[in-house]
Amino acid sequence: MQAFDTAQLPRDPSSVRFEPGPTEDKLILSMGPQHPSTHGVLRILLELDGEYIVRAEPVLGYIHRMHEWMAEQKTYFQFMPNMGRVDYLHAMAWNWAYAGAVERLAGIEVPERGEHIRVAVTELNRISSHLLWWGAYLLDLGAFTPIMYAFDDREILLDILQAVTGSRLTYSYFTFGGVYNDVPDDFASRCLAFTKHLRSRLPMYRDLVTDNVILRGRCEGIGEMDVDLARRYGATGPVLRGSGAPVDTRRAEPYSVYGKFDFRIPAYSQGDAMARYMVRMDELETSCDIIDQAVSNLPDGPCSAKAPKTLKPPKGEACYAVEGARGKILVHVRSDGGPKPYRVKLRAPGFSNLSVFCELARGTLLADAVSILGSLDLVIPEIDR
């Protein structure tokens, strides 16, 4: 058999820094799916000494879809369905960030009922995102059963969202000035029944998984991050709250009607994977509280303000930040007065959260790096945009 000469291969620009050097006995490993047809394509180059990680570097851009460029080619309305595809797990928050930015730019007021519906569907979507993360994270750690239980509960929730929006994953429900259509009459009662059901399931989740000795062994003291490190990298959401800083956009800069609601911001100071896990589990309860308050006195009136059919916001720029399931989502829209945005900048929380991984993974075991990566709750389409 002819010997295969690797020097003949075209050089991979992302692995130039991983060329064999003075430490030739190190093992270079590509971790993660890297074929474009798989979903969530994240490649991580690891330099291993035995089973310990010396260096880790994520390689991005496998599913870069030029969302920001697409925004410049489409009208304000036409860009709306893109937002559901940026982060497919928390599409509502991205919907909201973009709709909010354009509303701020064009000076459109959202009626009270529209705001309440927005809060309710965004929080429902947050629960579905956290439940999926919970199942997938435990799947990464080797536990198969929990994802089945999570999907059982998620199914009830998706049925509610399907009745409202018509779809189950990539929602395009928000419009400028409110929401696409009004909620069905039984929306409030179904939401209340669901939150009651989920609260009754949470003790089971705790007994089955959170108290489990294997999970604690895989999570406690793994990937410890202090609040300075989290802030330096711009980590937000449960990653930052797991490091002890109770920062939440819903409380820090209360947009929409979040200021009216009474809810707790969970934060844990340990900074390890377990703390981030606990923050998300507590957020399920927080979201339930918010949904209860939002739907129990759903105001009457229109769900959407009258927005012009061809939107031409005045010259200027606007920012809108919302709290997504993974952290602070920010959309910055700049208008030159025409029917298409001049520039749309999307700030994805996953990008900053992933950057911390390089620091956290250094010196850990390979199996622990999987646990750390899962605890950051990454959605790759959002990172690549």
Partner: protein
């Protein structure tokens, strides 16, 4: 770590495993939550929103309300709608066969053909929202299976006629 602490940790760990085993055992005895698809169907299909379809007139459900203004074609982010109308004949060409052109065409208030290419559609609903006469709505057709890409080019006029006949 003292021996008693080690023993205690082993006991709590072991207990957590048995508690988990009990929960999965209880779930095993619950009725099945999934359905076996071709034999059974889920019960939430009525709220599903599939590709768009035309809405018929009140007095004649086989004729769409559409006024062939072309607003939906312009609103669509992915160019999946096609509306064709007869092109008005030029002077001296009255006898020539009628050519079809994209809506809007002068003097034509009804569409000749409305085609949606579902393989491009992302179900955002901008077309239905922008329609001035509410002639478009989402269908509840969840079963879109085809062997050929061409089958996803759905002729909405024919679909409306078929629906009117079935009623």
């Amino acid at each position: 770590m003292s021996v008693s602490a080690l023993f205690e940790e082993a006991c709590t760990g072991l207990k957590s495993l048995f508690v988990g085993l009990g929960i999965t055992g209880k779930a095993f005895c619950q009725p099945q939550v999934t359905v076996i698809y071709p034999k059974q169907e889920v019960d939430n299909l009525s709220t599903f929103r599939g590709h768009v379809e035309l809405v018929g007139k009140e007095d004649d459900p086989s004729v769409p309300r559409c006024v062939a203004c072309g607003a939906c074609v312009k609103a669509c982010p992915s160019d999946c709608l096609t509306i064709l109308c007869p092109v008005p004949a030029k002077e001296g060409e009255q006898d020539a066969p009628v050519a079809m052109g994209p809506a809007p065409q002068k003097g034509s208030k009804t569409p000749g053909a409305v085609i949606v290419d579902f393989s491009l559609c992302s179900l955002c609903g901008q077309c239905a929202k922008t329609c001035p006469v509410d002639s478009l709505r989402f269908s509840d057709n969840p079963y879109m299976v085809a062997l050929d890409r061409k089958e996803f080019r759905i002729d909405l006029m024919a679909r409306l006629k078929r629906q009117a006949e079935e009623e």
